[in-house]
Symmetry: C2
């Protein structure tokens, strides 16, 4: 049994509740897991075929008029595979933050310009925070609790990060300012 990629489990998890097309999967990902695990069409469609070959999902034609469409639903084997994965300790933890990278090298810039970097990071995080809040507002009380916990985690994290940026801005400004501490 070859190892599935985490993205395969995203798909398994999302078709578990209801049958979905690749397009719908992408749309759901973009409004939920994207913030801690993204997926693109280039992964989703090949992976759906792969999962279907492995018998973990079943696809069925469900065209809308003349437009072909295949929806996938999970099989018993797929459910089993998903649960087995959930019980394994997580392996992948990655972060790619171009803003932090720039701040790291800010020494190469004239003093004072580092502030622009933390301001840009802060603005971006606040933007994501607002997106997450609007997603939270959309979701009624219908869902199971775990996606909600993760969503609130995202909201708290982006807020924390924005606040950190604010603190750093002050710190950098204080360090750059002429030492004018009066006696």
């Amino acid at each position: 049994m070859e190892q599935l990629s985490p993205t395969a489990y995203v798909i398994l998890g999302l078709v578990r509740n209801e049958p979905r097309s690749g397009y719908e999967i992408k749309a759901v990902v973009d409004n939920s897991t994207r913030f801690f695990w993204a997926a693109s069409y280039g992964q989703i469609y090949p992976e759906l075929k792969h999962l279907a070959e492995a018998g973990l999902v079943i696809g069925s034609d469900s065209p809308t008029g003349g437009r072909r469409r295949t929806v996938y639903e999970i099989t018993a084997d797929g459910e089993e595979e998903l649960r087995a994965w959930l019980r394994q300790p997580p392996h992948t933890f990655e972060m790619r933050e171009e803003g932090l990278l720039k701040l790291f090298f800010a020494d190469a810039l004239p003093p004072g310009e580092a502030v622009a970097i933390v301001r840009a990071m802060r603005a971006h995080r606040l933007e994501v925070n607002a997106q997450l809040r609007s997603i939270e507002a959309l979701k009624g009380g219908i869902d199971d609790p775990y996606p909600k916990i993760v969503l609130r985690g995202g909201i708290e994290f982006t807020q924390w990060f924005a606040d950190w940026c604010e603190r750093m801005e002050e710190e950098i400004l204080a360090a750059a300012a002429p030492e004018e501490r009066s006696s």
Copy 2:
């Protein structure tokens, strides 16, 4: 002028202070930028060649005995290119957290097992936190301030995340426990 990848700028930034070999660059990355921007040999060596062709770094042979070794240093054009990049607003913000992904789908597990997921996340974050603290302890007062700010940010973030996991653990346990609120 084709666009350089952020990893190219990591290399530019790291050879700016002192000439380094690809191997040394990888070692420095693993102890500094790895936590917000990783790089592998598979990127570093080709990118060094690419940067050398573009005239942004210069490589010179500097063998140790019979072992060939090429160290690279930044050129004036490279410095210019680095500063220009630092002034651009950051574009890439990614996070891949398999633990959050598992928590998101924890509904597929019998109640109670979700706690194991947040515990694993917390343990991992505390481990990274300890690594970052030991890196901080190693660095004397020599460095420029920005890498220090970023490093402290990493320490604060991993601590925040670990604390969040702890809070979620309590919350999940409270929700899973039989409602035993006495009158």
